[in-house]
């Protein structure tokens, strides 16, 4: 899209100068910059741009011709229709041809229907349509054909239905049905008639495509066709038309779907209708198919208000022993919305007395949290200690949701969350501390064959991931008691072969044979393979131990609350050995800091981390200090400005911006940092505050390393585009090739910012 700037603005002196410079490049520049200049003219919408762009349709470079066509379409230059039509016939380049078709479609050209019709059914060589000789494994016409069929539909060409039918019936042709159906659906009544005619011979797949194409049509026009499809003998076609009816809000078809013999159609009809009558819901809830029941429950849940007359809770209670868990879960979720008071008792009963499926328990927790049921905290405590990680996650997530609100319940939830982070909910197994462990496989050498000189215990312990376990004291080396103490699986038999040690061990096989006694060479082999396996870590089913897992989960979600009571717990967790726990805690602290929570309780721990040897934690602590913005914290941040790690320096810079204390000198220094990450961080940080200033310095930065950071600089300049434009125009009109090219690349971003066109800005930045 062109940038919508008032004509008087773009006709102003500075824009005229820019348009002249761009036009000059289109004529005299090299191929690379001529494309950019044409694109720039397309964004500029200057009165003098049109002639240059139309002339560019005859450029020797197909890329320029493509860009010119796109620019003329975006500027809506109707005078370009004839030259574009001529080009469509005469230009042999297929990429350019496709672009011309798209441009003609955008411009609503009406003089090209015959040409498009010819291209829709063949290469049109009898129409003197030029083509480059096919030179690869791809037939270029195929792309143009698709574009032509689409354009015929958009342009409403009179001959389109017949032409599209011919193209569809080409026995050697590509599959045009999806685009043809859409094009015909756009053509109104003639298109509908053609679609109806085509249906008689259409396959199931193509009938589904016809049904899908009706989604964007007026039901008044497509009603007859939809009814015909709704009575189709194939359920998947009926499903497709019900889905289309949902998109086009055709209640008549959806109501028909409620009585369909196929459950998936009934379910789609329930879902499509959304606001279904109590009678219809009652029928759906009694449906024999679980998917219909689930659809009805979701409709109830989606409505978000109590519903009388369904007796959903008693239905659920009756179904507990008879329906599958996913149905129970859906019914419970719906019951919590439709009959909140009665639902509480059922949920409490399920949580207290029934050993239900994890999915059901998760729904219960969610509902209990939403309903803020009495005893919720105890219920969540219990769930946090669950063996099922999904249940643990649900409980912790529920806690976090509760803590987001205000009031005593929310405060209590925050305290529970803090306790969870601190490790008070599940104790670590004895002797493990915070060390992650898993099932352990032990390898015991044959007695008397221990390597000479090896006075220690030669037992090698590998966990399920193939990681070598830390060696224990000699007294821990044999017997199963110690293994039991440390939570190891004492039933795990030794493997039959070292190969099994390399691969994931198969317990069934291991039990089938005798113990294998390994020799010294095997042990050294195992040491080496253990190292290999350690590097791979390929066990996709590995799960962290529960006591550590809940702490990590809680630390991860705590950042979404707004409770200062969590700050201290998170700060402490951030200093712990477990990297994942620390990362989660620091991430949450940063998110809390973004919400203007008082972070002063974390200050001391963050200062310690920021001055520590762990660069990773240092980098993460700095933003928290920046958010605290006290003199002490800012000083700690400034102390890291010269840190050895570029990542830390970059974080330091961003934190100073957050604290509002970054000086121009510090910014200039950062922009000149030897490491590009720091320079980039400086530019990005300044984007948040806007008003770039120092345009010349920034442009020089953009030019460094052949424009590595040009996009970021452009975005920064876009925060003060009026300051940047004169310098950019100078560069574009200048003699230095690299500068000119760079400015051309940055121009669309700056122009987009001037027009306040966010879409254009994003698009330009992305491109």
């Amino acid at each position: 899209m062109a940038i919508a700037m008032p004509r008087q603005d773009t006709a102003s002196c500075e824009f005229s100068e820019l348009a002249r410079a761009l036009a000059d490049i289109v004529v005299n520049g090299n191929n690379a910059e001529r494309c950019l200049a044409v694109q720039g003219l397309g964004k500029l919408d200057h009165p003098t741009a049109t002639d240059t762009l139309i002339a560019s349709l005859r450029d020797a470079d197909p890329d320029v011709r493509c860009d010119a066509a796109a620019a003329l379409a975006s500027l809506n230059v109707s005078a370009a229709c004839q030259p574009l039509t001529d080009n469509l016939r005469e230009d042999p380049d297929s990429e350019a041809k496709t672009q011309y078709v798209k441009a003609l479609q955008t411009l609503g050209a009406d003089g090209c229907h015959d040409l498009l019709s010819a291209l829709a059914v063949g290469r049109g060589e009898h129409h003197d349509i030029a083509w480059d000789e096919a030179y690869s494994d791809w037939d270029d016409w195929l792309d143009v054909q698709l574009a032509a069929v689409e354009a015929l539909g958009v342009l409403g060409a009179e001959q389109a239905p017949a032409v599209i039918e011919t193209a569809l019936n080409d026995p050697e042709g590509q599959d045009l049905w999806p685009v043809a159906c859409t094009a015909l659906a756009r053509l109104g009544r003639p298109g509908m008639e053609k679609l109806q005619q085509l249906l008689s011979q259409a396959s199931v797949l193509n009938r589904k495509r016809v049904a899908a194409a009706l989604a964007a049509t007026d039901p008044a026009l497509s009603g007859a066709l939809m009814r015909q499809l709704a009575a189709d003998r194939d359920a998947s076609v009926r499903l497709a038309v019900v889905e289309s009816a949902a998109a086009s809000a055709s209640d008549e078809i959806l109501t028909l779907g409620l009585d369909d013999v196929a459950p998936e159609v009934r379910a789609a009809a329930v879902a499509g209708l959304g606001q279904v009558s109590t009678k219809a819901l009652d029928k759906a809830l009694n449906d024999i198919s679980p998917i219909v029941v689930i659809a009805a429950c979701k409709a109830i849940e989606g409505a978000g208000q109590p519903v009388a007359g369904l007796a959903l809770v008693s239905r659920t209670e009756r179904s507990l022993r008879t329906k599958p868990p996913e149905v129970i879960a859906a019914m419970l979720a719906a019951a919590a919305v439709a009959e909140p008071r009665q639902a509480s008792a059922l949920i409490e009963d399920i949580c207290d007395h029934r050993n239900t499926d994890a999915r059901v328990r998760r729904v219960c927790l969610r509902a209990a949290s939403t309903l803020n049921m009495p005893g919720l905290n105890e219920m969540l405590d219990q769930a946090i200690a669950s063996d099922d990680q999904a249940v643990r996650m649900e409980a912790i997530s529920a806690l976090a949701d509760l803590a987001k609100a205000d009031g005593p319940d929310a405060d209590r939830a925050a305290v529970q969350l803090a306790e969870t982070i601190a490790g008070a909910k599940i104790a670590a197994p004895v002797g493990e501390g915070d060390q992650e462990t898993g099932t352990v496989v032990q390898f015991v050498p044959k007695k008397g064959k221990q390597a000479a000189g090896d006075e220690g215990d030669a037992t090698i312990k590998l966990d399920r991931g193939g990681n070598e376990m830390p060696s224990a004291d000699k007294s821990d080396s044999d017997g199963t008691d110690e293994a039991a103490q440390s939570g190891q699986n004492v039933d795990e038999p030794p493997p039959q072969s070292t190969l099994q040690a390399i691969m994931a061990v198969n317990p069934e096989r291991m039990q089938a044979g005798n113990t294998v006694e390994l020799e010294d060479a095997d042990l050294s082999f195992l040491e080496m393979t253990g190292s290999l396996v350690r590097r791979r870590k390929l066990d996709p089913e590995a799960k962290p131990p529960a006591h550590l897992d809940v702490r990590r989960l809680a630390a991860g979600v705590a950042g979404d609350t707004r409770k200062s009571v969590l700050v201290m717990a998170l700060a402490r967790a951030a200093t712990e050995r477990d990297a994942a726990l620390s990362d989660a805690a620091l991430s949450s602290l940063r998110r809390l800091a973004d919400q203007d929570i008082d972070m002063s309780e974390a200050q001391q721990d963050m200062i310690v981390l920021a001055s520590g040897n762990d660069d990773g934690r240092c980098r993460q602590a700095i933003p928290v200090l920046g958010a605290i913005a006290s003199p002490e914290s800012v000083e700690a941040v400034r102390n890291t400005a010269g840190h050895r790690s570029p990542q830390v320096r970059a974080a330091s810079l961003a934190a100073l911006v957050t604290a509002g204390t970054l000086t121009d000198e510090e910014f200039a220094s950062a922009v000149s940092d030897p490491d590009h990450k720091v320079r980039l961080a400086a530019i990005e940080a300044r984007q948040q505050t806007g008003h770039p200033g120092m345009v010349a310095l920034l442009l020089e930065q953009a030019r460094m390393e052949s424009g590595r950071h040009k996009h970021e600089v452009a975005k920064l300049l876009a925060t003060g585009p009026s300051d940047a434009l004169p310098t950019l125009t100078d560069w574009i009109a200048g003699a230095d090739t690299q500068s000119r090219y760079l400015a051309l690349e940055m121009l669309p971003v700056v122009l987009a910012a001037m027009a306040g066109n966010k879409e254009g800005h994003d698009h330009a930045a992305a491109s």
Partner: protein, 891 residues
Amino acid sequence: MTTPYYIPETNIPLPPVDADVISTACDYCIVACGYKVYRWPVRGGKVGGPKADQNAFGVDFPVEILGPWVAPNQYNVVLHENEPHHVIIIPDKDAKHVNINGNSSIRGGAIAQKVYNPQTPTRDRLKSPMIRMFGVLMPVPWDFALEIAAEVGKHVIEKHGANAYCVKTFSYGYMENTYAITKYALRHISTANFTFHDTPSDVTSTPGFRDAGFDNFGPAYEDWRDAETLMICGTDPYESKTILFTDWIMPAIQGGQKTIFLSPRNTGGIAYAVKNGGMWIDLLPGTDLPVVLAIARVIVENGWQDDEWIRNWVNNKSESSSGFGQGTRNTPWQWRTTWGKFQTGGFDDWKKWLLEQDYAVPEKAAEIAQIDVAKIYTAAEWLAKPREDGSRPKASFMIEKGFYWSNNTGNTNAISALGITCGAGGRPGQMIGRAGGHQRGGLRGGKYPRNKSPEKLPGRRRRAMDTDRYLMSGHTRLAHVIGNTWIQSMCGSQSLSAKFEELTAQNPHQIRSFDKQEIIETLKKRADSGGMVVFDQDIYLVDPIGARFADIIFPAAGWGEDTFTRANGERRIRLYPKFYDPPGEAKPDWWIIAQLSKKMGFEGFDWNNSNDVLEEGARFSRGSRKDFFMVKVAAQKEGKTLHQKLGEFGTDGIQGPVMMLDDGSLEGTKRLHDTTRKLPDDGAAGANVFNKKLTHFNSQTGKCNIQKAPWSLFSDYWEWLSPKGDELWTTSGRINERWQSGYDDRRRPYIVQRWPENWVELHPDDAAARGIENGDYVMLYSDRIPVQVDTIIGIEGDDFTFTKLMENGHIKLEKAAITAVAIVTPALKKGVMYMDFLHTSQPANALAGRVVDWISGNYNYKMGVGNVKKIGESPYKHDFRSMSFARRDIA
């Protein structure tokens, strides 16, 4: 010595007489030998007996030598329609093509071990979609994973543009899959950030062949057999395409064929050829061009060129400049030729240019390549010197990756010119082509959107995007990786890995929720914050792309788990039927792509089965080397599906392009560019396509273009890279026992035992100078790995030369280090080290320079340098339990 950890099975059941027999082909190398699967249910305990009337082979056991005996590695148990079944998978003893009479390689011979069986090391196949939540990959339902992927994909395309969505995919994993994937990526997403497993950009692998007019896979296997002189560059078919060597080339050598190998490393195939009168030109990496041109120079100086062929089939001056259709000329071929660096005014003009090049003087070329100059003269004689009766030797030229990945444009231009000079390219036994690596399963569902690529060469049209550099520059926000290791298979792999780590694992936006919407929002934030989301679609969890970086894992189904279609190295198209159930919820790639596409709102993915996909894709094969459209036409006429019709060809298959004769029968194409072939005078009838390449060459006139191959376009890089100080060249390649990244081999006890780690071959002098012995652990390291950075547009004419890239700061020197077990062998050229090319935990590509051939955009994978030092002794040094250090260059 026996081993305590690999105890092979000794007994397996024979198939009963009523066992199902399914024809298929091997899944591994380009040769694609024909195989048969014997399948029968476990239930009931029925097995075949040793008498001929008691088993499905119809032979008495024990059988004669080379009879249809079955090895334990050829047996497995699978689930078929949810019921356990025995399967025996053996080469087809009745094969009339490819592996005639049922020979097999060590890879294919054990292909039964590939299939999923939870009792074997294949148990870790991916079985359900997974999402990385709280740092752990957790199994989730398909809909859950696909809906998240679709939402994130749509967001990335909408917010950051189509090019932010990268698709890095295999190019060979069956036509049904590649059609679906390319339709998704190129037609619907329309991203220029797309490429295949073995290249950073979607460009031709052999630019010189394409410009000359040669198809990569024009020859038939019998052409390699029928050549009197066969020049093989950058490969030993015995190591990597065993049956092509043992069944086609070895018999020819026994019959007197003179075989010339260009390679820095001696191997079994080379040793055999040399022992039987052949020759090994033991050149240094990257020096093929001067050697090839020096051979051509000797030929033209002696007047041994094939004048008649050149007169009839080589473009003269006016033909070289003749046009392409109407209007503006701007094809990939043309911009290279009009640029003036390569185009010639015909043979005489090329000869004049050749004689002016000092590096093409045999003595100078021999000095650059460090070879005996006599070999250049001998090669010229063998290839082109007419016999006393005036007849000429029939010469053919086979190249592969060791050659075209060590000066991509230059080498392929040079060998094309040498072949043309010798009259090769379009006659039986006189052909030029690739030997091939993997099978040919590509089928395009869309055109690469070249005009969306940000890369433009000076004064020329845009070139396909370098996906590695685009990612390194931070523009890729979503990487969808399908069936490849990406990181280890690219040059400078360790720096690429570090970037992946930064963009994924180190990004603050990590999934910390099980809620679908929250997961979607987190991944969107990741992409918006400059990070990257990774989808990985594969059969095993691959480290690191899947195990460490992927957010969403899609489990794929492979060989034998759905019905697929693919061609081999002589365009022989065969059906690979489904014969067992994929593990868990794994699905074929076409299905995964179709579901994802539908959730993204794309039309045209409503396929019910793989046959639907191929029938749709058949249209897009028209005119290609694998054109099988007429098979579909025949199938429809006979009321069959395309798969049913293809299945009728059994292990014979049919060679593309396929034509329908007047009587409705189908005829394949033995070789492309067959100047001896007569097509009907009245042209193509019905839907047949008479593509120019059937009887002519892929050029503007149908004749060959003979092109210059300037050393100067490459020599600055070669000279900069050449070993300095104590450095040695490092290069890499395949070994017989391992296929690709070893994804199956790592799960085969014998192969793990034989090759537990990567290894490096060193010349004894190089090893002795560093105190290295067989079995030592060594570290290969370098602090000058040239890594090309930034996506840039060329403005000045030399912007993409290595020298200019260096000057402009687009080359960064990175560090890399890998370990390996040393193998000291005189089979290797002094000054060169050689490793397995794709060992995922010790990737040789870490040391290969990540600088693309600036004309084509391909990597020169086979060229790296590094230091090597001993870091200790491996367990294998004094133990025969596992690795062997025996020489492999034995005949």
